[in-house]
Symmetry: C2
Subunit: 280 residues, 2 copies
């Protein structure tokens, strides 16, 4: 098995994509990541591989997504491990640029913003995070654009619902010829949404954490109001609610629970912050 071609420059990625489109690739799948890939990522990489002639995964720890107090320097980096994992999946191209390659002029003067929609919910805990993510994905879309001969699809997990909605909204608001493909949440048998943070949970905490999925399901089934769903979470031992809301997936505005709305929950379980969501 030959592994993926690892591109470290913008020019190299453009050339590789261009060459493969010329040789007949009609669909290009792009899965943007910050590396340190786990099973959740592998699932999305597999879909990217299965659904496209050309499967591209970017591995870039984007400094713009990290706030001043956050862990940009210590964020885990393991490109060799990531490439090995992506080789198993059969990905064609890995794009692993340096910070200097992505931001040759330093911090961008012109950037992408989601304004209020990116400063609420997860954005309230991480100011600037979503604008940083949108700015880098905007660049990735431009760099990976295969031109009119092929379709570009970009893959995001439904677990990070706010990120997914903002990416969908960027594509619409910017008229991008990109199709966003959402990959459903993978859950444990008990219902806990898979996350790399689950490893921090004790067996007992993992049990308490099930309240997130349980209340989401009950809300979606009309068995609980938002108010009672919030109380149910706060009543669970070791669990402390951050938010439990329903939003319009078009603009993330808060709305009453109802068909087509999206329920979003975030809570601390012990010291670990978890998020989950469900379409109503």
């Amino acid at each position: 098995m030959t592994g993926p071609v690892v591109c470290t420059t913008v020019a190299q990625l453009r050339e590789e994509i261009g060459a493969r489109v010329t040789r007949g690739a009609r669909t290009v799948g792009l899965f943007p990541t910050m590396g340190a890939l786990h099973d959740g990522h592998a699932r999305i990489a597999q879909r990217t591989r299965a659904e496209n002639d050309l499967a591209v995964v970017s591995v870039f720890v984007n400094p713009l997504q990290f706030g001043p107090g956050e862990d940009f320097e210590s964020y885990p980096r393991d490109l060799d491990g990531d490439v090995a994992r992506l080789a198993e999946v059969g990905v064609d191209l890995v794009f692993a640029p340096s910070v200097e390659q992505m931001y040759p002029d330093g911090t961008p003067v012109v950037s992408v913003t989601s304004g209020r929609a990116g400063s609420i919910l997860e954005g309230a805990t991480r100011p600037g995070h979503f604008d940083g993510a949108l700015t880098v994905v905007n660049k990735l879309f431009t760099i990976a654009a295969p031109g009119p001969a092929a379709e570009l699809r970009a893959y995001f997990g439904e677990k990070d619902a706010q990120q997914l909605l903002l990416m969908q909204r960027m594509v619409r608001d910017f008229d991008y010829p990109v199709e966003i493909r959402a990959v459903p949440i993978v859950r444990s048998e008990q219902g806990l949404a898979l996350s790399s943070r689950n490893q921090y949970l004790s067996a007992e905490q993992a049990d308490h954490a099930l309240v997130l999925h349980r209340t989401l399901r009950a809300l979606a089934a009309g068995e609980l109001t938002l108010e009672r769903a919030r109380s149910a979470i706060d009543a669970e031992p070791e669990v402390r609610l951050d938010y439990f809301v329903t939003v319009d997936p078009g603009d993330l505005s808060l709305v009453e629970p109802g068909p087509g709305t999206l329920a979003l929950v975030a809570a601390w379980v012990g010291p670990t912050r978890l998020i989950d969501n469900m379409r109503i």
Copy 2:
């Protein structure tokens, strides 16, 4: 003489550009305007025509560029007149979308921002103006993108120096395959930069307004300091200085006058606000 094809929808413009690239166009020139075209626009349209296989002019009064107190509703609109003028120049396509066509979901949730660089100088007088201009031009670049078979060039006048610099910066920061072509300021014999606002000046005021160009030239020649250039402007009857600065054209940061910097001036002459600039 057949006039330009007038496209009113995004789909129609994409189709027209695609068809002409297929028929052999290798260069596409795009000149974004808000219509109400005058001789200054005609000059830029002529360059767009002369330098490209396919010449496209967009005519769109972009609500995002207008502040709450500004004149979006009363801004002059004369599409028939504009199309007649562009027919004389020999432009191929006019893109004249409705607001609903450009912003089908209402005000964009995700948009382009230039942060501080767009909130100083002209941006201080018109908050949000540059972000609105960047957001719509970003969309125009996407909509007019001809794909890898042809080059896209976008035309902006040097008169609106801050806008030009921000557009150049957007292309660099977003890795856009677009070349920005700057069209030099056209001046009267006496040196006054042509502007549709010059019509508001009395003969005497037009005479006083020459102090802008005179001080810019003297500054560029090293005959005046910034301090003395400012005083010279304020000493001119009927002229009141807003700003006179030199900036780094890369990020619009204020710097001392020197080779490669750009001198920017804005002043009121009577009730009329004028801007001018010169590379040092």
